[in-house]
Symmetry: C2
Subunit: 404 residues, 2 copies
């Protein structure tokens, strides 16, 4: 009889944990719960009627191909639609610079697989997207966090850290950056700082992984050029996704980068899942070709902008005075900072009792700091729910901070 | 300027190669080419009309969920439909014993990820599915091949090999078996031998990975019980897929196993792609619930059985006398053995010139043997094409063997 699987597990598996966030999401099935925890898009943004038409068209005209295996690089029509769209937006790339992945999470996994050996260092923001950090540590990466200010990752600290690690003989593989409406902090890097980070990568011969799921969900302000557009040396690998601009249930993302790197990612993808669903890729290709993505994006931006405004209004109305938050120009999240002595984990347990949820910010800090921070999602809940949720949460925080 | 990506690559990536088969498939776009190379299902088996109805139903009734993130374990309704179906077929499992993966290729990848450390040994058939072997070597596995006879993997050789490797101090993690209509050999393990292999795994405390993509595509003979059904000790992990019984373009498979192992696979899947497409999972769940899978399977079996018969008939008619082949009772492939001195790679190049393709058998042998073997797929081509293809291939082989 098999007594324990422990002796069979790889070193990597022994240290795997369930994602805190994914596990929280399961707790939230409780009726009456208001959740600001997940990164869920609003179902109101899913273009169901347009999709009905397109799905029938795909089955009728392209069923034999759409239900068959596809190439690992991705459906040529979808790749072309994306390349054309990027070119129209000013990023000059060819088909050889873009491949499809099963969500951008797979992009993170495959990049980690082709780049990381155990002990390699990755530099990331403090805080940074947990699913990215976990994808890297599965392959044995060491994470070194760089503080963010109101303009994102601090370049001086980044450079000092690189110098220090190099002095210690450590191997650094890449800098992990989420330049637009960063998850979880909601901060955007201005162009000058993007260029500065690229210059540092060039100076110390590092790669940059630009994780860009939220870029197009901008409510206001000037769109900043992607780091892969600013890069002139082929060292930026960019991850994009349809999860926040169309549907996460399709599981389709794409990677932009230099051909040599994409070539290795394709090899890695062959053993990971052979190809991304041809059926879903054909649906999305048609959706873009018909110009529907731009239409839906406009609607999504309007909806999320209202919800962000509502959340900020309610935070101002209900939160105790010594609580601060970011006011992002786009994306899905804002980040709350409590007074230094507060503990978001304790608040989380009490909040759950009062039927409101968030994610403790410390999950996103690779150096076990940030215990007084929280990530709030504003995309999923409607304005009334947002008000009620922030009211509940503020009451819990007020009680925790002031004892009343 | 980035000179070369080499210095950034992981040890694993440095040894990655493009899959020979996937690359061959790309060469076959040439007009007039007859391909017995891929493992492609016949598009005639794709139930397009039934799917149209179901897809509309999913979008109408479950659009908000179907386009949203799902749980990593898989859509509960699809998991339930599969668990119920297995129970009806005699395999007693609960929901906790089954999870969804992005094709069974992802199952292979995640199993490798949670079990394999560099240098661990995996025992596999000579020959075995290349995509499985590659998924294991990505994680640094050493492969040790076990000869097949007409009943599959030889148990005595398996046991001797285990004893020998253990004496050398090697760590063996699992035995990789494709029990039904093995890819590429087309051989099926009888129940007695399945039990024998399970007993060996129990005796030496090893796991078994049962890769079972073809089991339900049986044309004739008695269905053999799955190894996970025969196993009483929880050491068999079974991989199944919709790729050969519904559509590979959906990229949906499932894994059956003991809960502790599945739990680790789920953790690994969280960083690999978060979840498999909710949209596609909901379509398949509905498809099974409506009883359509059984209907389509019947049609698929009839079609492939005819095509196998046709291919065997043509092989008998056209091939030189000293060429042998397996006559599988199901699946998608048969395996051809040429006289020992023949070289299938040389024949491949000449065959391509004559517009007919196959996969050289040696790709599937982890010990660089099998150079006189070839895998032929019979599922994809219609009977006329099969005749013409075998005629062309036989002419090339005859010329190569006899010089005329």
């Amino acid at each position: 009889m098999l007594k324990s699987i422990k002796k069979f597990l790889s070193v990597s598996a022994k240290s795997m944990k369930r994602s805190a966030i994914r596990e929280i999401l399961k707790l939230l099935q409780k009726p009456g719960m208001i959740s600001f925890a997940g990164g869920l898009p609003a179902p109101e943004t899913f273009p169901i009627d347009d999709l009905k038409e397109i799905v029938l068209e795909v089955l009728e005209k392209h069923g034999a191909e759409g239900l068959q295996y596809g190439t690992t690089e991705g459906d040529p029509r979808l790749r072309k639609a994306l390349v054309d769209r990027h070119n129209r937006q000013g990023l000059k790339i060819g088909m050889e610079n873009l491949i499809i992945t099963t969500g951008s999470q797979q992009g993170l996994d495959l990049i980690a697989r082709i780049l990381i050996d155990p002990g390699d260092y990755i530099l990331c923001g403090l805080p940074s997207y947990l699913g990215g950090l976990n994808a890297f540590t599965v392959y044995g990466a060491k994470l070194k966090g760089i503080t963010l200010d109101e303009n994102g990752m601090k370049p001086d600290e980044l450079e000092d850290t690189i110098i220090h690690l190099k002095e210690l003989g450590k191997k650094i593989k890449f800098i992990y950056v989420i330049p637009d409406f960063q998850n979880p902090a909601g901060i955007t890097l201005p162009e000058s700082r993007r260029i500065r980070i690229i210059d540092i990568a060039e100076k110390y011969d590092l790669l940059i992984v630009e994780d860009s799921p939220y870029r197009e969900v901008r409510f206001e302000g000037e769109s900043q050029r992607m780091m892969c557009e600013l890069d002139t040396t082929g060292r930026v690998i960019t991850l994009c996704t349809f999860s926040k601009i169309l549907s996460p249930g399709f599981r389709v993302g794409w990677v932009i980068g230099n051909q040599e790197i994409l070539d290795k990612i394709v090899m890695a993808k062959q053993t990971a899942d052979i190809c991304t669903s041809s059926f879903v890729q054909k649906i999305i290709a048609r959706y873009i070709e018909k110009g529907l993505l731009e239409k839906n994006l406009k609607k999504t931006i309007a909806l999320y902008s209202d919800r962000r405004n509502q959340m900020i209004k309610c935070l101002r109305k209900y939160m105790p005075e010594n609580v601060k938050w970011t006011e992002p120009q786009g994306g899905l999240f804002l980040f709350v900072t409590l007074p230094a002595h507060a503990d978001a984990d304790t608040i989380f347990k009490k909040a759950i009792e009062k039927n409101v949820a968030f994610v403790s910010g410390s999950s996103f800090f690779c150096n076990d700091s940030g215990h007084n921070t929280m990530r709030l999602n504003f995309s999923f809940s409607n304005p009334e729910i947002i008000e009620e949720g922030i009211r509940r949460l503020s009451a819990v925080i007020r009680e925790e901070l002031t004892g009343k």
